[in-house]
Symmetry: C2
Subunit: 343 residues, 2 copies
């Protein structure tokens, strides 16, 4: 059940079988045919661990995302898988579930597996957990995360711009008080989108106090509902508009508000982020900020594989940054059309 048995059956040496598998052009047609037949007859499957052991690295890349249940990340994963499989790489997909500890544990597993490279959407701000890999010479590309470090690649979308775009539109539409609903601010996505929102606030001549901030433990719909309940129950009047750090939160917020009899967008406007597929089909179709998600995955993978193939030499690290795009739907569309910035 190994290369040796195949060799015996085909009447050649193990080395030749290996050549058939890895450099078929170096072996004569007749021999190759014989070997291939033996492979089929015996149902031989190459032992990946032996190859990996010998080569020092596998032909597998790791992809670690923040949350597998978020369609944003599965879209991204699709981009990664498509490119990887085009180039003959397999993908090990893992989720940190927004937990630093799980990220660390999973990265360790990837290191043990001797993956060729890793795509990481880090929980922390600098992806320091990935040092286990970088120290071993394993290329790491940050995904959906810009980096100041010049010694690594990154692919991201400008979340500050996105936050400004989103909050700016809400303010343009006449909102004078906002709420910002987000996960913990260690998540760069939350921090940057918040920063953008604050800029928009300032540009509209409003102070910080015009924006209430609600922080929840996770960026999913359940947490969104929790945030809405908090807004509903703390005695203060609801804000004119709610900007959520992602669509899952926004959908949860919306659901809870509607259930409480709040009218969207008449009473409160809602804006999400990511423009996941479900947002357009929501009870009140959700305004959101669209990102080139699938492309993000593709480009990041291309950068990673380029770095892998170059063996460190000749590869120039790149920090790619995309610009997001506003998608306005009913959840933020004021009854009488946009009011402009005069309100």
């Amino acid at each position: 059940m190994g290369i040796k048995q195949v060799a015996a059956r085909a009447g050649v040496s193990p080395g030749t079988v290996s050549n058939v598998l890895n450099r078929p052009e170096r072996v004569a047609d007749a021999t190759r045919a014989r070997v291939e037949q033996a492979i089929v007859e015996l149902g031989f499957v190459r032992n990946g661990s032996a190859s990996t052991l010998r080569a020092g690295h596998s032909s597998t890349i790791g992809l670690m995302v923040l949350d597998l249940a978020n369609p944003f990340f599965t879209d991204l994963a699709r981009g990664v898988e498509d490119v990887a499989s085009e180039r003959g790489y397999a993908v090990i997909l893992a989720s940190s579930a927004e937990s630093d500890e799980r990220e660390q544990r999973n990265l360790r597993v990837l290191a043990e597996q001797r993956v060729r490279g890793v795509l990481l959407t880090p929980v922390g701000d600098d992806g320091a957990n990935a040092d286990v890999l970088r120290d071993r010479g394993v290329p790491v590309v940050l995904l959906d995360h810009p980096t100041p470090r010049a010694n690594q690649c990154s692919v991201a979308v400008d979340d500050v711009a996105g936050g400004e775009l989103a909050a700016g539109r809400l303010l343009d539409d006449g909102a004078r008080t906002l709420a910002f609903v987000a996960g913990p601010s260690v998540l760069r996505q939350c921090a940057d989108r918040r920063k953008g929102a604050l800029r928009a606030l300032k540009a509209a001549g409003l102070g910080r106090e015009a924006m209430r901030e609600v922080t929840v433990p996770a960026m999913n719909a359940r947490s969104g509902q929790e945030a809405a309940l908090r807004l509903l129950s703390d005695g203060r009047p609801l804000p004119d508009a709610i900007f959520c750090a992602n669509d899952l939160l926004a959908l949860g917020v919306q659901r809870e508000l509607l259930q409480a009899g709040v009218k969207v967008p008449t009473d409160v406007a809602i804006m999400g982020y990511d423009d996941i597929e479900f947002s357009a089909a929501a009870a009140v179709p959700l305004s959101s900020v669209r990102q080139p998600t699938y492309q993000l995955g593709r480009i990041a993978t291309e950068l990673l594989l380029e770095e892998c193939d170059d063996e460190g030499a000749g590869h120039a690290h790149q920090q790619v940054m995309f610009q997001p795009e506003l998608v306005v739907r009913e959840s933020s569309r004021p009854a009488g059309g946009p009011k402009g910035g005069q309100g």
Copy 2:
């Protein structure tokens, strides 16, 4: 950068280091401490391929689902990951994207990786592609798929019952004509749910011609929209109710119908399947059939690991079957409450 360097640094033999890693109780406290320190100092990470090579199999299980973009499968994956990591196994997650060819290719990769076992949601009816693994003695558990074969485990939900439940309710609510929207019938989920719907039809005293069938290439929202367009444009009047083989299809159908000005459920009732989280937040909250998704993943993983640990001996294969549950929301709720079966 291996066990040898650690051994040298700690002044012991490689065998002892291995013992520290795998059977710490067998090594004296002082020695163990010294080795552990050396491990930290050198930043040693065990080479998984070498272990796997030596052991003949890795401590990794493979999970192949039909569609990563479907929340049903990510819920399921969560169950799998939770159990696997509790037991010290890592999970390699892959998606066949409902393609038999991709399933085959990915299973081959898993075989090469010498995974310890595989959880498979098969595209075809019998999971024959997994024979590459079974022949090598790798346990395979079918997930969301019952099996007649007594020589393997499976965990599933009764989709025939679910289909009957769903269609039955639509008929009870007064529908006299149905449409069934589904993916290709090689997908067992589609075939079974259809069978259940036909049973309900018969039970209501209606013939097959009362149910139009729309088959689309994939079970996602885009295909759902395509199905709705077909129903809208083929000249015939719309059916009283539409039963979709999963929620993604149903959300797509609903979206397209609403856009065309069709009232849901007054003009047409809609029923989905899976009860994914988004269904409750849809434009018209979606009636659906709920499955114990997360539990499905947990139980399947427990069965798989049991089989792995038993090394084939003493393990009795089980075919577990859950019963689904109807969740009625607005999309199928007639204005005046259920009309009963009087038509």
